[in-house]
């Protein structure tokens, strides 16, 4: 009789790796997975994401050190793909940002890190790029236009870290379409309330004593990832380079909620699909040693919105584990119980179908995983 309670839904996991994209699908039980791919074999797939309005509409960022950026779109859930526009031109004279030697360096497009389809329109999406910029397409990815006001938010002071100056997080407020929050590696959080015309830094409360000469600087903080629950867009959770942070006012101010984590360094952060105070992180030993503390791969869950964290280890390797979990590589589905998914630089994609209590590897030997996105399908 238990089957009667299992929805006839399906879960699709979009996995971007260093050498191609993979699509993992299962029914609502999430026990048996089909794996398709590699899509775009041999290319770096930084991110794939589906449209909330039309879930079979997928977008993919395909890039290569040889051949640059290609954008792909699918209208059948990833079975077939069509290349769309890849002309990412910064508006006007691109200007310059701070370079490694302290001089000013002109903005140069390198790749698309993150895609964020709009909630209601499958043809509208945003792309976060390196060198940091935000682009918007209103025609399904055929053409792209920069929201250049972002770079006026002290862009001349932004300086790339070792991972590149990438715009990796785009948060669209489900209640207020004119409000967008973005995060840029080694620059920080920026917010617009007018649909992207004007932007301001939103980094008050972040402290970076080991990375910046002024620990409280207005810009320059190395934000790794931000997550929110759609029912409460003003509450934000952040994994910073060091420190797990929380904002209750849409990024106006931040406070630390690292609490009892074994390390507060890490990359991804996610919020449970139905419990807005349940948050997941994957602690990493340090910025010098990008692998799990004590070589034990542990997801940490807080059910109190931070500060109090519990280790989730059941099914995860608890010895000799030296993988990393990158900032885009964690996601949740919306089923009951909540499915939680993450991918590692060792090529495993782990899944939990019970809020994180137990884990299994869906697949173990993919190329290094760059991104994981879960879609819950009817």
């Amino acid at each position: 009789m238990q089957d009667a309670y299992i929805p006839m839904s399906k879960v699709r996991i979009l996995v971007g790796t260093r050498k191609g994209g993979f699509i993992l699908t299962a029914d609502g039980r999430r026990e048996h997975w089909d794996i398709s791919g590699p899509h775009f074999a041999g290319w770096e797939i930084y991110h794939l994401k589906g449209s909330p309005a039309q879930p079979d509409r997928l977008y993919a960022s395909q890039s290569s050190g040889w051949f640059g950026q290609v954008m792909q779109r699918s209208d059948d859930g990833g079975r077939t793909w069509e290349a769309v526009g890849n002309d990412f031109r910064y508006e006007g004279t691109p200007g310059s940002h701070k370079w490694y030697d302290g001089t000013q360096h002109p903005w140069e497009f390198k790749r698309v890190w993150h895609l964020e389809p709009a909630p209601a329109d499958p043809d509208t999406l945003f792309a976060g790029v390196e060198d940091a910029g935000l682009f918007r397409s209103a025609d399904g990815g055929l053409t792209w236009h920069e929201l250049a006001g972002l770079r006026s938010a002290k862009g001349q002071l932004w300086q790339p870290g070792a991972g590149g100056m990438c715009l990796h997080t785009i948060m669209l407020d489900p209640n207020e379409p004119r409000r967008i929050l973005v995060a840029i590696s080694a620059a920080g959080v920026f917010r617009t309330d007018d649909g992207g015309v004007t932007w301001r830094p939103a980094n008050r409360g972040l402290k970076s004593p080991y990375e910046l000469p002024d620990p409280d600087a207005e810009v320059g903080h190395c934000v790794h990832r931000i997550a929110m629950h759609p029912s409460r867009p003003e509450v934000l959770f952040m994994q910073k380079h060091w420190d797990v942070m929380r904002s209750d006012d849409g990024g106006e101010s931040w406070r630390e909620v690292s609490g009892n984590l074994p390390s507060d360094f890490g990359f991804p952060i996610q919020v449970h699909a139905r419990e807005p105070e349940t948050v997941y992180v994957v602690p990493i030993k340090s910025d010098s040693e990008h692998y799990p503390p004590e070589a034990k791969l542990r997801v940490y869950r807080s059910r109190t919105g931070g500060n109090e964290w519990e280790a989730l280890t059941n099914g995860l390797p608890q010895r000799d584990c030296y993988v990393n979990v990158l900032r885009e590589a964690m996601s949740v589905d919306t089923l009951e119980p909540c499915g939680v998914y993450f991918g590692t630089t060792g090529g495993q994609v782990y899944a939990s179908a019970d809020d994180g209590d137990t884990w299994t590897a869906i697949v173990r030997d993919l190329p290094a995983v760059l991104s994981v996105e879960a879609q819950t399908l009817p």
Partner: protein, 98 residues
């Protein structure tokens, strides 16, 4: 008629098997070949040369008749054997590991 040999990833992207054959309206220069190639296969725009500056991407090479033409200007005329389709114009991904 010009024969263009593309690297594996660009053949896949453009969905072509073997060489691409192009008819040029004017002189057979490197730039004219790339213009015609991109006109035939728009998906290749930006993958061989930058869309704004039209400069060759750093890890793409142009070879013809055992010569490296990568650093020649776009107005450089191709050798007769390439311009007449006896030999192909090679677009190659530079060697790299990883």
């Amino acid at each position: 008629m010009i024969r263009v040999a593309l690297p594996y990833h660009l053949r896949t992207l453009a969905r072509v098997d073997g060489e691409v054959r192009l008819e040029l309206g004017g002189p057979a220069t490197i730039g004219a070949v790339l213009d015609a190639l991109e006109a035939r296969h728009p998906v290749l725009r930006g993958t061989i040369r930058d869309q704004v500056t039209l400069r060759r991407r750093p890890f793409v090479r142009f070879f013809a008749r055992k010569e490296d033409l990568s650093n020649e200007s776009a107005t450089t005329t191709l050798p007769d054997a390439v311009a007449t389709g006896v030999e192909p114009f090679f677009i190659v991904g530079a060697m790299a590991g990883g």
